[in-house]
Symmetry: D2
Subunit: 308 residues, 4 copies
């Protein structure tokens, strides 16, 4: 058994590493991506032939691809177009893969974001203060909704629902008019801010700044100006991707791993291990990567039941 390091780049270059009991001993409680990752897409690089050649040269029988929509999207095409014997394992903190109720990494991210919201609750020192927490979620609001409910946020903003600054400000004003002196707003990094897209995005030196940076910060400024309440911003960033995984994520990863081994040994390629209910099943990679899984209305309703 070999580890292919740094995602698809490891099959393009190639970068293999022997993988035995000694190499995986003690990694269970460790976070992060131990065999590395990259943004290499062999289709964009026109390096598919290299991938197939390296796979064949090394004498491999099966490939277990672990990742989110990008990594598994490539896996799905390599299987469909080139019959590469591949099996998928869904790993993304964003939880936005179709075909599986949960991906591993997500429970840990939600747990870290919830802990941050808990800590903000205990700092409600001054009257009329607003705390904005920017959490991960490039395209979907899974982390925002789950950590927002678990942490008792007062407003939750997600990419799936267009953001209206005035609506947010009004919700906060109402809370404070009803005697609350503190509000917590959770926002996904992937939310589009009205007006921001057209604004000139340059820093004080005239350099173009990164897109998407500063959603939490921009929201905080808007709230402060519209409500007059002092606003503080927390941007969790990659802190959500690290640390020791929760027990639940470890159990899920363990079960996915066993399922992937079963699928590979059974020659059932083009499939992805998936959680449906409490069962680990196989779903076609093509189906899992066809479209993003957005947060269903039902979850917002849970969140909304407690707002105000």
């Amino acid at each position: 058994m070999v580890a292919v390091r740094e995602g698809w780049r490891g099959l393009v270059e190639p970068i293999f590493e022997d993988l035995g009991p000694a190499q995986v001993s003690g990694i269970l409680p460790r976070g992060g991506t131990i065999i590395g990752t990259s943004r290499t897409n062999p289709f964009k690089l026109e390096a598919v032939d290299k991938v197939l050649q390296n796979f064949s040269d090394r004498g491999l029988d099966a490939l277990v691809a672990i990742g989110g929509e990008d990594t598994l999207g490539v896996a799905a095409r390599l299987y469909a177009e080139h019959q590469l014997p591949v099996v998928g394992v869904p790993k993304t903190i964003d939880n936005d893969l179709s075909g599986t109720d949960y991906t591993f990494g997500f429970d840990t991210a939600v747990s870290i974001a919830t802990e941050a919201i808990d800590r903000l609750h205990t700092t409600a020192e001054s009257h009329n203060r607003v705390m904005v927490v920017e959490v991960m979620g490039r395209h979907t609001g899974w982390i925002a909704v789950m950590s927002g409910i678990a942490g008792g946020a007062d407003v939750i903003l997600v990419p799936e629902i267009p953001l209206d600054f005035e609506e947010v400000a009004e919700a906060i004003r109402k809370r404070h008019a009803h005697g609350k002196n503190f509000s917590i707003v959770v926002v996904s990094e992937g939310c589009e801010l009205p007006g921001l897209a057209d604004a000139e995005e340059r820093d004080q030196f005239g350099h173009v700044i990164l897109s998407k940076r500063g959603v939490g910060d921009a929201l905080g400024r808007e709230i402060e100006q519209r409500t007059g309440y002092e606003t503080r911003v927390t941007v969790l960033g990659h802190v959500q991707r690290g640390g020791s995984p929760t027990a639940r994520d470890r159990l899920l990863a363990t079960r996915f791993g066993l399922k992937a081994a079963d699928l590979a040994l059974g020659g059932e390629f083009g499939q992805m291990a998936a959680l449906q209910g409490d069962d680990v099943v196989a779903v076609p990679l093509a189906e899992a990567t066809a479209e993003l899984k957005v947060v269903p209305r039902e979850w917002y309703d849970v969140a909304r039941a407690f707002f105000g």
Copy 2:
């Protein structure tokens, strides 16, 4: 809305407390049983009439009973035999209620036990040492199996499978013969130890000691004597019941609460909110409390895949 304090005792005596937004503000991150609990069983006390009378005197329309097999078993009978309008919510760290995939409190307990196992892994200082961790689980091995897999335990012992000291000692000897110098054994408090039942259970003053106390300790002694390896014992006890609940447990409790409110408002009594897959549904209380949910073979197989 009123809180009935201290479980069924609160309806026998009665002990009511007004329950409004102010009373529940800020309790989300808190562990434990805030409205209290007791071991009072109105059927054993022949106090069912008092329960019905107090319920009626206070002018209540519905009762939401929150607990495990004991609490909900009483609720099921009060509904079946006396038509008390009751709805159940499954809360037990043991996860042994039928009809629901998970109960809340369980994920937190597993998380605390896993953290303890993680910490033991980092103390593998000396050669040939064995660490025994006694975790909760009166009748079933849910916490032991889940935390054992998540923490990477080497042997997991549960009430569902008879314990054989020599088998345990042999598994440990084999590991160490293969170059491992450290083993972690997770054992449910509810395991029956062979020989212990008949042994005279008295302390040095001749007092009869509590039954079930010391499973971890007794197991540690046996392992030490059979293998000759130094053995250390951790008994987590009620530490597993406390602390801030995990995000997952809070989400589950929140969803169960909303479902219970829906059931009560809809007049669907005799039902319990339950998790089936990722959906919160209603199941008859009678069914949920008919028999304990034991750990299925499939979970042991996951655990066994990594032993040795």
Copy 3:
């Protein structure tokens, strides 16, 4: 005994609350400022007479003032200019009060910041990535230096030392040239960024933005543009002020509280409980609030010993 709520505002208005065993039961593990705080300064409000009058009307014998340079600076003047019988307790997460080696709240803040840095270490997935963590510290770099050393940061930036963007970029380039593919930069929120002060500080709607907001973000952009390495920013914000206090902070607060009670009972006013070495002693409030305690050179040298 009464609690004066919301800092000096509680003596201006006044806002008193009876304080007995029942009121403090269970607060040991809780973070935040339970009796509230405010930015009210009776000297600026010309409300000193009200403070003295309310203190006297309530029949109080002594005041224990708990806070940082602002709160205790007022206490020092009330004692010096108006003979108010006041005793001080040093509480600030910034640790910048003179006269005491440590203030309580600081160890907890360092601990939270260190945990965040730890988590970032585990996300070193891609080559040539830089992680910037903005931590608290309005005027001094105590949290940055301590958490930076404890977390193994590669660059630590503090208000006490002028920041030079090019020096930071060069340090990071050197590390990566030596085979490191990942750098962590810790920066105090109070660092002055060169160029930023003169830049027009308006958002996309033309509103003037808050001063000091965005040090981490601005630094991240500069690093990205100067090094070409992908840079990610975490802004911990008030998360550092919350959560359950560390054991060390609780011990320190407990000892400070006992000392303050001793001072008040002994009539030794105008003093502050302070930690010197491992001893809790009394120092004059005037001395403790005369000037900020900055991070001494020795601590940077500890940090520098491991850079590169």
Copy 4:
């Protein structure tokens, strides 16, 4: 630079390992004793000549010995009797080394024990329940006293003060008579239990059991029988030695390491890095290992101020 593995055994056998930046990269957040330990005492084994020979054969200039009274006691003798160029670093979770205010490992152990006590506080579900927590401390009560104060324990029992069962029972009865329905008792593993020493210490198979095992359990039984209150026992064991070290322990270890390097480079052998106040200084190893540092009266007084 080489690592000597497994304590003094590594110099007797010998077991050396090259130690460069690659070997120590990433170990900062890890707990436990990464280079191993053993109970080997070269003086007892009459292996001092081997130690000196191996040290000399490898061409070493200086030895940094890291440990508690046992490890450093050997170091002190090797320096005094054989002029081995040795420098000491105080590491023990027991904090019982003279000459230094704190040893590293201790703050982490206190922090884990405090967290356990916090969790027990939240499980005060039933009336008249007593929770016993056995913490580490073979000869001294440092962990018990510090975690007991930080966690708000109601009774703290340490080896330095003879334990009187009836006094403990009476303290608990009094608390409950005053309306408290829950008590937490923290006990050091090293406490001598009256009566236990003489009692026949055999298990149900007639095997002699380990001495010192079961202090918490035996105490729990006694409390239950004397007070009639249900008692639950937690034995933390080696869980206290593991996990990621606190920021404070990492800072202390870092500063001790730098001081040890300075001492070795300066040829100042026979010294130990020590914390006195907030300063890291050098103290003679002979002095540091002459006698155990017990908990001074002052600390009990802090604890006692809050009992009852």
